[in-house]
Amino acid sequence: MTYRLELKNVSKSFGEVKSLQNVTMHVDQNEVVGLLGDNGAGKSTLIKIITGYHKPDSGELYFNGQEVKNLTVPRARKLGVETVYQERALADQQTLWRNIFLGRELTNKFGLLDVRKMVEETNRLMIESMGFTSGAVTADSVINNFSGGEKQGVAIVRALYFKADLIVLDEPTMGLSLQETRKLIDFVKGIKRAGKAAIFIDHNVFHVYNVADRVVVLDRGTVAGEFLTKDITLNELTEKMYRVAESGHLD
């Protein structure tokens, strides 16, 4: 069966900083891959390449077996990649419906906004997926007063609405309360049950271990190792993470 996503020998530098060097990894059609690594390992750069935000300096990307050159953000979305960014990628002073449709506004062929449709869809999503059932929050509410979890909810609902096949979550538990974190973990498990794939990045090895089928460890721009979570215990994985951060080797 073809992989949903495959990277072969992908490298990326920013000036003198070699962010990624010859990274080869893949994501199966229906699995959750945890991407682990210390600060500066290259996780965010890798994600931004997968989502089309950065262009790799060298290497190839394959989506469902087909090579894709010159991937852009709109193209990546068409291929079914949706991202929940670490920074949430939201506009705080704008309304909920503007945030849901950020960059993908529903328009007619002249570019005129179909505001009514966007508000309608937002209202529907608010009740069905976000659980905003009270009248206090509407599609026109400005989001800067939302809690961390609510903003996270907006970013996730946005990714889902546009029919993602591969959901990339970049440090999604950052700023969330314990309860909200547990809901997020359940949600990622739901992605797997729905037959899709996900890449989950988190500093917290415990969260990743809980939810991932396979873990890819990045260190200083290269893939240090891969493990199936069923073949390794949490303690062993944590030990290896410390070791690789100190010495550059997993063992």
Binding site: L102, R104, F132, S147, I156
Partner: protein, 345 residues
């Protein structure tokens, strides 16, 4: 396929209240708070002038005068609103006014057609604006600094290319096509200055662009959080360059209207409009920090700025009071917007 699991949301923080009639009204007020604010200021000012200077403000002459002269800078203030919402600024629009009219005359002298001249004028303004945008976006120079430089550059270009004189009569162009003159600066029903109608048209067009078009949606997003906009695939650079282009074209248009109305092209055209135009935008509620702003605010703000000097004169306040009143009105209005913004959100 939609997922069955609910994404995480803490519904305890979304207050559980039923939405009542008064809540909905209050929400309406909050949503349009900026516009209510500036219209309120205008109404108060107007009322005071109506009471205190009845000879001037209860006669139609003063209003015709406003309709005649405010569009000279008001037409530029409208697209500049979009630019400032997007966290950019342009200080060179006054010089681009002159560039536009200079190109009008050049094309007119070459072809004998004022219509072609007008097209040339608008294209020149668009080109100058796009060049500004290119410099800001591709070279990465902050727009404040880049457009200070371009302000001198464009003015210098006009002075160098017109060394023979410092003003040029518009009469030949007017005579060549009197209909065009009527269309641009004539009197509708013998009373309403055409440029006022143009300002309304520009206001409606920029309103639609800002509030009903994807371009406007992107403008708000870029101003609010350019990083988020970029991550979500908005072509931030292209949008910004186009905005500068629009401001350039509007400036050229304002330039030709002013010159037709005054009857002469002065090479210093536009040099006095920098502060009134920008004041109108900020008075109208657009924040210099970006992300918020309204067309109605700028429209009303333009007239408030236009009314200060004649209003002061009508109240018998001598010239030296004008500056003080300008400052007072601007600080009060911008202060009001800042406070309102904090309390509404």
């Amino acid at each position: 396929m939609t997922l069955q699991t609910e994404p995480p949301v803490n519904t305890n923080s979304a207050v559980a209240q039923q939405s009542s009639r008064s809540q909905q009204t209050w929400r309406f007020v909050r949503r349009y708070g900026l516009q209510f604010g500036i219209v309120g200021v205008m109404v108060i000012m107007w009322f005071l002038l109506w009471l205190a200077a009845p000879d001037t403000f209860r006669n139609k002459e003063i209003y015709i005068s406003f309709a005649d002269s405010v569009p000279y800078y008001g037409i530029m203030a409208l697209p500049i609103t979009l630019l400032i919402i997007a966290r950019e600024i342009d200080l060179s629009f006054g010089s681009i006014m002159a560039v536009g009219v200079m190109c009008f005359l050049a094309v007119f002298n070459a072809t004998g057609s004022p219509i072609l001249g007008l097209i040339g004028c608008l294209l020149a303004g668009l080109g100058a604006g796009l060049l500004n945008g290119f410099i800001v976006v591709k070279l990465g120079i902050p727009s404040l600094i880049a457009t200070i430089g371009m302000q001198f550059f464009w003015r210098g270009a006009v002075l160098v290319l017109t060394t023979v004189a410092s003003n040029f009569p518009m009469e030949p162009a007017v005579q060549a096509d009197p209909v065009l003159k009527e269309l641009l600066v004539g009197r509708i029903f013998g009373v309403i200055p055409a440029q006022f109608i143009w300002m309304i048209i520009v206001a409606i067009a920029t309103w639609v662009l800002l509030n009903r078009h994807r371009f406007g949606a992107h403008t708000y997003l870029i101003g609010d959080n350019p990083n988020s906009a970029e991550l979500m695939g908005v072509n931030v650079g292209q949008r910004r360059i186009l905005m500068f282009g629009l401001v350039g074209a509007a400036s050229a248009f304002a330039g030709i209207i002013t010159s037709y109305s005054v009857g002469s092209f002065f090479t210093s055209l536009g040099s006095g409009y920098l502060l009134p135009t920008l004041s109108a935008v900020f008075l109208g509620g657009t924040s210099v920090l970006g992300g918020t702003g309204t067309i109605l605010g700028t429209f009303v703000g333009s007239f408030i700025i236009g009314a200060i000097e004649p209003g002061a004169a009508a109240l018998g306040l001598l010239g030296q009071w004008t500056q003080l009143i300008y400052g007072f009105v601007i600080v009060i209005s911008v202060g009001m917007h800042t406070v309102l913004r904090r309390r509404i959100r």
